[in-house]
Symmetry: C2
Subunit: 501 residues, 2 copies
């Protein structure tokens, strides 16, 4: 930032004594010294999104990134970008800008951050390439606040190009590893900005809905002394002189909160799975949106609360994040997400019948494979026109030991999954709240009772019947937006092969 | 739950043929079969808090825990508890209850969950020992939904007794390890219920305030490839065939989000510190409320936003959680939390002068010890009448390498801590956003540049000036309520000696 005295000096200099050799605009541009909070200037920075014809002919200060620059004779056109908004800026030789200043502006590395003073001017022809189509900024001063290195590891324009367009026109797109290796830049694209703003919205809507329903937010520990759901797929932590584990879910803790009379609880937090799965939908660390709730007489009381929470999220996203949805759709075209109210509930046996009718061979107690899940999603969409539904009453054999058996059919259980666009996003059930039955079921599953003693003991001092479920945040974001890889909806994804950045 | 036919049968039985040998009330009480969602009875369960004189003479169903029971001749008085509310219930031999039924009720183990049908009756004399003081419930039916074991590891009444009262009257209180070992029961006390409801409120107010200020919520990874803040105090995780670490803070990631143009971000999540500290305020895993924000010209823009966020939290708690505050105060008496608007800001050198005046010997670049922090808190409270203040401009020497030096005084830095009741709850600063200076400072601190390459590289492609801070949730809860141990405000605390439950 130029000092106050420097800019005064430039104003005092009479224009007539300037000549070609001297740069009459030299105080009007340059590389600022690093902002170290030296001063608190009385300057208002206007947001790029607010640069509209209402501001025509006003002199404004803007801080933005140099998205592109293009010199053309005595002029330089810049596109200045601020988050998902951008505006054209013109530096032209004249009263305010010298040749040298135009050259300086043209040579600013892309992605550098600049402070620009300019006059907002109405344009006669809409600027199709910018979000601010009706005005441009006639630059009077331009200072670099933070200079980017000259070579970018990826180009933002390539990073938002739809793949189909890239292929057709032979233009570059950016592959996933390059994006993830350079996440700081990839996250600046309009698509990434929209994805993660919407994801923030999912968390907000989830909590808003549940707090309105009387739920209490809980914080559960991630370092645990014994593997919570059996020993497989658990990460080991060195804990002082012992070993500990990373929680595969907040299951035990949210149930303890129910036994402790909190009645309705939720949590949002990381969940760790040491699965060596390299698929489009598995991460070793993801964000779990967890719910647990005591009910009166039937676990459907809980299942319906969860389904309604999902519906409130979908509605909220469609109401509040339409711009973000459309931004993502530009790069990744997709049908709008459809859902019914109340949510469609199918029983597992009905789903089996639909799949069998479509030619799938499956036993009554087989779990759904990923392709069958997808196929079922298509069949359900065709028949019921919904992208969201509940599959209820899973076979007992395919669920965890703590799942309540269906008293009317010993092969079934009081459990459910929820699906978005044919992929599972939530798994839930009535839990066994009776220590005797829980012990029996654990033994039946061959689980070492010693390891789950604390879990079973939680139910010895009076436990209300309860049910719940866990939702994968990244999956919800991915499937709502019709994306195809969970790495697109995790800011810094972790999988067996990726731990950085 | 008795089946519908069973209760019909009981109604059909003419009263006159009953005799002393037969139990004329036998269908009206008992141990229900386990609730496995067999049926969806059309029964409304009334909340204990709603049992008021407005409901006098109504017949209601209530589900609650047996808090205490006391048999007295042909009567049994129960206190039924539901979260922080309780009501007296009377089972008396008469039309609805037999001797056997009274005996059954008297023998139900404490903490069992029961379904009770009863008539709400106005009482002539207020019941001082219950929250519902104006009515009692005349029990007509009582069924045990979940039976507690007969011996409780701790008594709830002991667990809420103020220590002073226990000492004076020679009555039992419960020590911390017993509480934590039996957390499911300890969390049922009115004090615990209030503490953790208020804690949920802190998270809610934090997010509500920041979302209103335009912040975006982010999710940052907890498994990282290199120790983020130097190698000390970090937990190691086995990550497939390699080692990884647990994040000591979301520092790098929230700064990357700033470099990625999110401008204002926050996160709530676990933070891990492998410190072998066994103090009242250290945990190995705690919940971090983190903020990071780009600013225009001065880091005070951010510091003031954070301070205002804290003030909004304090105000929100005092407005919305007065009942909870008073409940906790009953067991742990404490002065109401005081704060100023705008928040008091002191510079480090002013604090030093105050401490020196009080007789403390400290060098200009020494960090504050815990006792000196506390003393300073007292001095500030005395002088300014506030329990919350900012200490600004810490010596550069005592802050992390990424802290922005003060350009006007090389021994100072653009950093601040915030204090509640004399204890630090937030540490924050302007961060160095220039890769060159960051490299210099890292070298000065003897940090291996290779290990923080990704961190430094984040700033190479244009980075706005920014600042932020991290808040410890459990400390905020503890200090707002005037409690004395952070284990009281962590549901399932982790320290070097405790990993369970």
């Amino acid at each position: 930032m130029p000092s106050a005295s420097a800019s005064r000096k430039s104003q005092e200099k009479p224009r007539e004594i300037m000549d070609a050799a001297e740069d009459y605009a030299k105080e009007r541009y340059g590389i600022s010294s690093m902002i170290q909070s030296q001063e608190k200037p009385d300057r208002v920075l206007v947001r790029v999104r607010d640069l509209t014809i209402q501001k025509a002919d006003e002199v404004v200060w803007v801080r933005a990134r140099v998205h592109t620059s293009r010199a053309k004779g005595k002029q330089c056109f810049l596109v200045l970008r601020q988050q998902q908004f951008n505006v054209q800026a013109l530096v032209a030789v004249g009263d305010h800008a010298s040749k040298q200043m135009v050259k300086f502006a043209a040579n600013i590395n892309k992605e550098s951050i600049v402070d620009v003073e300019g006059v907002v001017r109405k344009v006669n022809q809409k600027i199709g390439s910018c979000t601010q189509q009706d005005v441009e900024l006639h630059v009077q001063k331009i200072y670099v606040i933070s200079l980017a290195e000259p070579r970018l590891p990826l180009q933002l324009d390539d990073a938002v190009r739809p793949e189909a367009e890239g292929e057709e026109e032979g233009r570059a797109t950016v592959n996933q590893d390059t994006r993830l290796d350079n996440r700081v830049i990839d996250l600046r694209t309009s698509t990434s900005q929209a994805v993660f703003r919407l994801q923030s919205g999912i968390c907000h809507l989830f909590r808003e809905t549940l707090i309105n329903k009387g739920f209490v937010e809980i914080q559960t520990p991630k370092i645990i002394s014994a593997a919570s759901e059996g020993g497989a797929n658990v990460f080991t932590v060195s804990y002082f002189k012992n070993n500990a584990y990373l929680a595969q879910s907040p299951q035990l803790y949210k149930q303890m909160c129910i036994c402790a009379d909190f009645e309705k609880v939720f949590s949002i937090g990381p969940v760790f799975r040491a699965e060596d799965s390299n698929t489009h939908r598995h991460l070793t660390e993801f964000v779990g949106l967890d719910i647990e709730m005591a009910f009166n007489y039937h676990y459907h009381e809980v299942m319906e609360e969860i389904a309604d929470t999902m519906v409130q999220i979908f509605k909220g996203l469609q109401e509040r994040f339409q711009t973000e949805i459309q931004t993502v759709n530009k790069q990744f075209p997709c049908e709008p997400f459809k859902f019914l109210e109340p949510t469609l509930r199918l029983e597992y046996c009905e789903a089996l019948a639909m799949l069998r009718e479509a030619g799938v061979e499956m036993g009554d107690e087989d779990d759904l494979s990923t392709p069958n899940e997808k196929l079922l999603g298509h069949l359900v969409k065709e028949k019921y026109d919904t992208d969201f539904y509940i599959l209820d009453k899973y076979p007992l054999a395919v669920r965890p030991f703590y799942t309540m058996p269906d008293p009317r059919n010993p092969k079934q259980s009081n459990s459910y999954d929820m699906f978005m666009r044919g992929e599972e996003i939530l798994s839930g059930a009535q839990r066994i709240h009776d220590p005797q039955l829980l012990t029996e079921r654990a033994l039946h599953h061959g689980i070492d009772l010693e390891k789950i003693k604390a879990y079973i003991d939680s139910f010895r001092f009076g436990a209300p019947p309860h049910a719940g479920g866990g939702i994968g945040l990244e999956r919800v974001t991915m499937l709502f937006l019709g994306l195809h890889n969970v790495r697109q909806t995790s800011m810094f994804p972790r999988d067996p092969k990726r731990l950085t950045p």
